[in-house]
């Protein structure tokens, strides 16, 4: 801003010099013609005219005058704001709160919903999923099915497929010459990268064979992501052709992908890609043996998702006909085509994000309304000053421009504070936001967010200052000049306008507070849900080890059992156990389903639909978590690899297996499924229902098997080699045991030293899910709204009382009772509150459905919440009104009249 100013200053000096030279020459001529110096100067001056006016008119010609004027206005605005620091700070803080909320939420929305995908024309990428008759999506699609689609679909192009080893959370180990790093490992078809529209930054991608699969000569090649290349190989330019191992298998590096390219996007770890080459298992269609792949494709130009889905369904009828087994056929008979973008974000996440975004927007609106109200009051107070400027020749446009610039200055300052506040808010909620919304990048305002902030800043300034500016500029000059004292009436419309603003503020705050109240009740309810197990003094860690090293050994016997033994004997450890997944944990899950039985009875069909959560545990788990047993016994030390295989199920399992209302006691002794060598696993105990997926999710059917009974070859060995967690019950503060635990684990296997220990309480906390986060954020938004709203009520009433001091003085002098004056002010407050609360309740009633997806144990239109919130706002509002009311009652009639 400094440069143009300097330029103007210089030009101004030059213009002045030019005119002075003109004057001197005129004088010299006149003196030559015989006039005396004095006369010559006077005449020359007269002939010349008004020099400052000439300068002004000339400067208009420079074209940059508007800028000069803006600068002038900026300096004037700064002076004005400095002169009223209380007003300036209040307005700025108010606005910055609103801006901070809006910017923080927009940053999250931007990261989660608006994230540009690193693929060419990502909008036309679709995911294809086979579904059962019942609409249940399957595990993935078989190679033969995909090949058929590729051959016949015209509306979809480049149908590519991939599979992520061990699921999204699974960690594989990549070993170079002297590095070992955890990676996600995706097996992909060769045409995948062409479909995504990305090319290798270095080297090449896989060679394409039939059906988009990788050609056999590329069988032992690997593609690295940019992140892996940089982290594990220090961006080695000679990387191509190097040998690396993934889970013990050797591959040659043939390419490095560009920075930022990842696929699939949902993985937490950096990626490597290995080739998909069809095996003999891929050449058949047997549901449980044939490998399954996720499938992605690109819409042909001009094709819509619906049209593609229609075409695919037609093809799928024929595909299904080729499944010989009726049950298998039923599981794949339908098909679903979804935009890939839409598969990345859960619907519930989208809804809760939009709800929170909406709440932030409302808070921002409240802040704007509040500042508008402040500016109106200030404009009234400045009426005289503005009238003077008008009288001196300032045009209305100029006055409006000046006031707008003042508004802009305010909101710019507010946006600076706001962005700091927003960053702090994001930092404070980092953990929650990242776990709830699956954000793997740093949450910080980026360029797009800054653009939005700029936009919001300008809108805030316009929204809050246009009205007051117009109101003032339109006011006639003369009366304001004539009797311009603080006492003069400032028009009923303006008071009514301000009252309307306060009413709007109350209504919006009530809406926010209702949402906040509903979530608080949700959290309260969730905290009181019986979990079915104890969480105090329990610490858990999920262990990831390069399990391929134990390929031909019994993982449990060689690694886990000795480790557990040592942990149990650590000082401070009360008991310790192993389990494949932690209750309420989100890392890993085994879903167990049953075959169809022999007969095709209704019972068999029902049972084949059961999706039981399966968990392999050691007997000590009962000591750690103290699950509630309903019937029978839990595992104990007599359950070994050689004894009868036993299982424990939960009540929900029996409900689904046996039908409603069956007696859990009678279920003991039932053989359930083949465990090992034709031996059936027998039910020995029944657990009460517990929470597995989330607090808000009802208990699901569950089967527990005893880990010491699992040996290589038994049904559950596979999963136990993928994931294992350890749970420890401590005698003292869990945190104090961690160093020793780590030590023991490092000795067992070096990779285990990095295991992440969490208290079970934190796991439970995280499982409150978006509700917890939403309630915390809404507490802040609602609290801020409440404060702003109360400040708004107070501000308006205090202002009105000040304006009416003289009137109040006269009333008191004429004998009005002070109590009555107080009641008068309170009545005014009551009127605004009633109008605001009534509008607010209507609004809340209409909008509380938006947070509906977040609620648990409470209805969106919960009358108690609405009543409580209304009461709080009412009390707050009346309390705010009390101060001006008492001041009205305390007006000293003499002082009030004398002050005229």
């Amino acid at each position: 801003m400094r440069l143009p100013w300097i330029r103007f200053a210089k030009q101004k000096d030059e213009l002045n010099e030019e005119l002075q030279a003109h004057l001197r020459m005129a004088m010299a001529d006149r003196m030559e013609r015989g006039e005396s110096e004095d006369v010559a100067r006077r005449n020359a001056r007269r002939e010349m005219g008004n020099i400052p006016l000439i300068e002004d008119v000339t400067r208009e010609m420079w074209g940059g005058v508007w800028l000069e004027r803006v600068l002038q206005d900026v300096r004037y605005a700064l002076r004005q704001l400095r002169r009223a620091p209380g007003f300036a700070v209040t307005a700025m803080v108010t606005l910055s709160l609103g801006l901070a909320a809006a910017v923080a939420m927009y940053t999250v929305v931007d990261q989660v919903l608006l994230r540009p995908l690193p693929y060419r024309d990502a909008g036309s990428l679709v995911q294809i999923t086979e579904m059962g008759k019942d609409g249940m999506p399957g595990w993935g699609n078989a190679f033969l099915d995909i090949a058929e689609w590729q051959a016949r679909s015209h509306r979809l192009q480049g149908i590519a497929y991939y599979d992520v080893e061990g699921g999204p959370g699974h960690l594989n180990y990549l070993e170079g010459k002297d590095t070992s790093i955890g990676v996600s490992n995706a097996t992909v078809s060769a045409n995948l990268f062409a479909t995504l529209g990305v090319q290798a930054a270095m080297g090449r991608t896989f060679l394409e064979g039939g059906n988009g699969a990788v050609r056999p000569e590329d069988a032992h090649t690997i593609l690295l992501s940019d992140a892996i290349w940089r982290n594990a190989f220090a961006a080695d330019p000679q990387i191509l052709g190097r040998m690396v191992k993934v889970d013990g298998e050797a591959y040659t590096v043939i390419g490095v992908m560009p920075r930022g390219v990842a696929f699939p996007l949902t993985l937490a770890h950096p990626l490597v890609w290995v080739p998909m080459i069809p095996s003999s298992a891929d050449k058949v269609r047997t549901r449980h043996e044939t490998p399954h792949y996720e499938t992605i494709a690109r819409l042909a130009s001009g094709a819509s998702v619906a049209a593609a889905a229609h075409e695919m369904q037609e093809i799928q009828w024929d595909v299904a006909a080729q499944y010989t087994d009726q049950d298998n056929r039923d599981h794949i008979s339908s098909i679903r085509v979804t935009r890939y973008e839409d598969t990345l974000v859960d619907d519930s996440v989208r809804k809760s994000l939009l709800a929170l975004g909406g709440a932030a927007a409302v808070l921002w609106l409240i802040a704007c309304v509040n500042v508008t109200s402040l500016l109106l009051a200030r404009a009234t107070a400045r009426q005289r000053e503005i009238a003077v400027r008008g009288a001196l020749g300032a045009s209305r446009g100029r006055i409006v421009q000046q006031l707008l610039i003042e508004g802009l200055m305010l909101s710019s300052a507010a946006s600076l504070v706001g962005i700091v506040l927003a960053t702090l808010t994001l930092r404070a909620f980092e953990h929650g936001l990242e776990t709830q919304f699956g954000i793997h990048t740093v949450l910080a305002p980026n360029l797009r967010v800054l653009c939005v902030l700029l936009l919001l800043t300008v809108i805030s300034a316009l929204a809050s200052s246009v009205w007051p500016a117009l109101a003032v500029a339109r006011a006639p000059i003369e009366p304001a000049l004539r009797q311009g004292t603080a006492q003069s009436g400032t028009g009923r419309t303006q008071h009514r306008l301000r009252a309307a603003l306060v009413v709007a503020e109350i209504a919006m705050s009530l809406t926010l507070l209702v949402a906040c109240g509903l979530l608080l009740r949700t959290i309260y309810t969730m905290r009181h849900v019986p979990l079915g197990f104890r969480t105090d003094h329990v610490m858990v860690a999920s262990m990831t080890i390069p399990s391929y090293r134990y390929a031909n050994r019994d993982l449990y016997k060689d690694l886990y059992a000795p480790l557990l033994e040592r942990v149990q004997h650590l000082p401070g450890v009360e008991s310790a156990s192993l389990m494949t997944d932690v209750p309420l944990g989100k890392d890993f899950r085994i879903v167990f389903s049953f075959g169809d039985g022999d007969g095709k009875t209704a019972t068999d069909t029902r049972r084949s639909k059961i999706r039981a959560q399966a968990r392999a545990v050691t007997p000590e788990i009962q000591k750690v978590f103290q699950f509630h047993m309903l019937k029978g016994r839990f595992f104990n030390d007599t359950d070994t690899a050689t004894s009868l295989p036993v299982v424990v199920v939960n009540r929900e399992f029996i409900r689904e297996w046996e039908g409603e209302g069956s007696d859990p006691g009678k279920f003991l002794g039932t053989p359930l499924f083949g465990f090992r060598d034709k031996k059936q696993a027998v039910v020995v105990g029944v657990l009460d229902d517990d929470r597995q997926d989330g607090i808000a999710e009802p208990s699901q059917a569950e089967i527990e098997v005893c880990m010491p009974q699992i040996t290589p070859g038994s049904t559950f060995y596979g999963p136990t080699s993928i994931a294992m967690s350890i749970a420890v019950r401590t005698e003292r503060d869990p945190a104090t045991v961690i160093p020793e635990l780590r030590d023991v684990m490092r000795k067992a296997s070096p990779e285990l030293a990095n295991s992440n220990f969490t208290t079970m309480e934190q796991v439970v906390e995280d499982s409150y899910g978006s509700q917890q986060l939403a309630s915390r954020l809404l507490e802040i938004f609602g609290g801020t709204a409440l404060v702003l709203c109360i400040a708004g009520i107070y501000g308006l009433l205090a202002y009105l009382v000040t304006q009416r001091t003289r009137e109040l003085g006269i009333r008191i002098a004429l004998g009005a009772q002070r109590v009555r004056l107080m009641a008068m002010v309170l009545r005014q407050a009551g009127g605004m509150l009633m109008a605001g609360l009534a509008t607010g309740l209507l609004l809340a009633y209409a909008t509380s459905r938006i947070v509906g997806t977040l609620l648990y144990g409470v209805k969106p239109h919960d009358p108690w919440t609405m009543a409580a919130v209304t009461l709080i706002l009412l009390m707050g509002g009346l309390a705010a009104a009390c101060i001006p009311a008492r001041r009205a009652a305390g007006v000293d009639p003499m002082a009030a009249l004398r002050s005229e």
């Binding site: 213009l15 010099e17 001197r24 020459m25 010299a28 007269r46 005219g49 008119v57 010609m61 420079w62």
Partner: protein
């Protein structure tokens, strides 16, 4: 009062002609503002007196449009003054202004010199 009488036989400039006159003056050579006023006065037979309040805004406007350029120089009487010089674009502008001016003069003349029809009285 005497001053006013001096100006009596001077006429107001027709709107839009000032630019043209200034450019024309500069065609005789670079000149400063005062010099231009004097030149216009002398060469119009003491009829045209350009007001300073119109002169300088006009000069600065011409400069912004790139028709004249300015520089500080010494006058014969050893004073520092801002001299204006016509540019190539200014010359082009002048010739088009002149063309339009001529058209205007002819048009006005044609109307003014035409005898009213059938007004024998």
């Amino acid at each position: 009062m005497a001053k006013r009488d001096v100006y009596k036989n001077r006429i107001e400039l027709v709107q839009g002609t000032l630019d043209m006159l200034l450019l024309r003056t500069l065609q005789w050579g670079p000149q400063h503002g005062y010099g231009m006023v004097q030149a216009l006065r002398v060469h119009s037979g003491e009829v045209l007196q350009v007001e300073t309040g119109s002169l300088y805004p006009a000069l600065h406007r011409l400069e912004r449009q790139g028709w004249v350029r300015s520089e500080w120089k010494q006058t014969e009487s050893n004073q520092r003054a801002k001299y204006y010089r016509i540019t190539a674009a200014g010359k082009k502008q002048l010739s088009s202004d002149l063309g339009r001016w001529q058209q205007m003069v002819d048009a006005v003349a044609a109307i003014m010199q035409r005898e009213p029809e059938g007004s024998d009285a």
